[in-house]
Symmetry: C2
Subunit: 227 residues, 2 copies
């Protein structure tokens, strides 16, 4: 979809990289040749998580969230929803001028499964945009299965990545970045005001996973593959 | 997914059957051998719309919404969101004891495209459930393209149908019903409390359609096809 944007030399920061989703993305982007810097609450935790994710075929660095945000060319937000607003408010300076990819799903869980939490700004991505006026905020990677990402016996991750944002060059870049991971296709899926339902849809995927013992993802039909 | 439920003899009422989505579903269900009764604001309008949709290979009946609701075994709600609550409140008796399939998307439109409207009950489907306590309310068919449904040169409609509901026999039945249309697969996608984001996601599909000149639908990955 975005074959014209060359993103191969970008370094990628992943805040919350010690969690399952962030860690899985770190593995895949490092395997694709990117320099990956994962951030965690402390530099020690970050370095520890990075060491666990590294392998002979790839090097992943780890540090605290602020340093990862500052050092990387592009930054993925993969922290738990609970700490989302507070963390981003503290990183306005470090994230200034950068493309930020929010992939946080504000969900609650009870014995009936997962359900969307109300978000005053409409979505985690819109909250990020409000807190980071000097960054270009996009939203993507909400639906990737952490289990499939971490399973390196799976060569291709069979899923489309829905990319949202109000800035065309930024969404083009994030689509191209998604396509660095074999199997993934980046699809433009609307402006940030339409991010809330994409985040909430993760609750539906969790319902499907429970019913079908699957790691469900989605593919968009009738949109042709990039030529 | 639901091959064990035989729904082939069910008659299907489609309220709002004179609109594009309802009309498209009417064509496809009638072609699959179902008796289809479309409802409209008046019996005359219903009959007129039915005549337009009928063909030598299928018969579609048309009447007013209340008569269609009363006569059919299972009832699809495909009316515009604006009239949704008022109509359903008036049909509590006619719809009692039946499985109701809500496929209404509460969306607003402006020059930026489509966006979800807030719904006090959480979703159109939950509003239907609140107004129809004597019916079993499910939600499905939100994302089908009216254009693809109406284009009879397309033999198979390449999409999964996400089915939501709190009653297992009813969601099984609706999944089986979706699979009467060639190409469609019915997937359980959660309880009614997770219907809001599925309805709202139609705004994202509209964004994709605009960007890619497509009639986007979705397929769920990693859920095996029914054996």
């Amino acid at each position: 979809m975005s074959a014209s944007v060359d993103v191969s030399s970008l370094s990628i920061g992943i805040l919350g990289g010690s969690g399952p989703q962030g860690g899985g993305l770190a593995i895949r982007f490092a395997a694709a040749g990117h320099k990956v810097i994962i951030g965690s609450r402390s530099a020690e935790r970050g370095a520890e998580a990075a060491a666990k994710l590294s392998a002979s075929s790839r090097v992943i660095e780890g540090t605290d969230n602020a340093s990862a945000a500052e050092q990387a060319d592009i930054v993925i937000i993969a922290v738990p929803w609970e700490g989302h607003g507070e963390l981003l408010a503290s990183l306005r300076k470090e994230l200034a001028g950068k493309v930020v990819i929010d992939c946080v799903n504000p969900l609650g869980f009870d014995k009936g499964g997962a359900y969307p939490l109300p978000v005053a700004e409409g979505s985690a991505a819109q909250q990020a945009a409000a807190l980071l006026p000097d960054s270009t905020v996009t939203a993507a990677f909400h639906h990737v299965s952490a289990v499939l990402l971490a399973d390196e016996s799976i060569a291709e991750v069979d899923t489309d990545i829905l990319v949202l944002g109000d800035d065309r060059p930024a969404t083009d870049l994030v689509q191209a970045l998604a396509e660095r991971i074999p199997g993934m296709r980046g699809i433009y899926a609307g402006k940030l005001r339409n991010a809330g339902q994409v985040e909430a849809f993760t609750a539906n995927l969790i319902s499907m996973n429970r019913r079908y013992k699957a790691h469900a993802g989605i593919r968009v039909t009738d949109v042709p593959r990039a030529g």
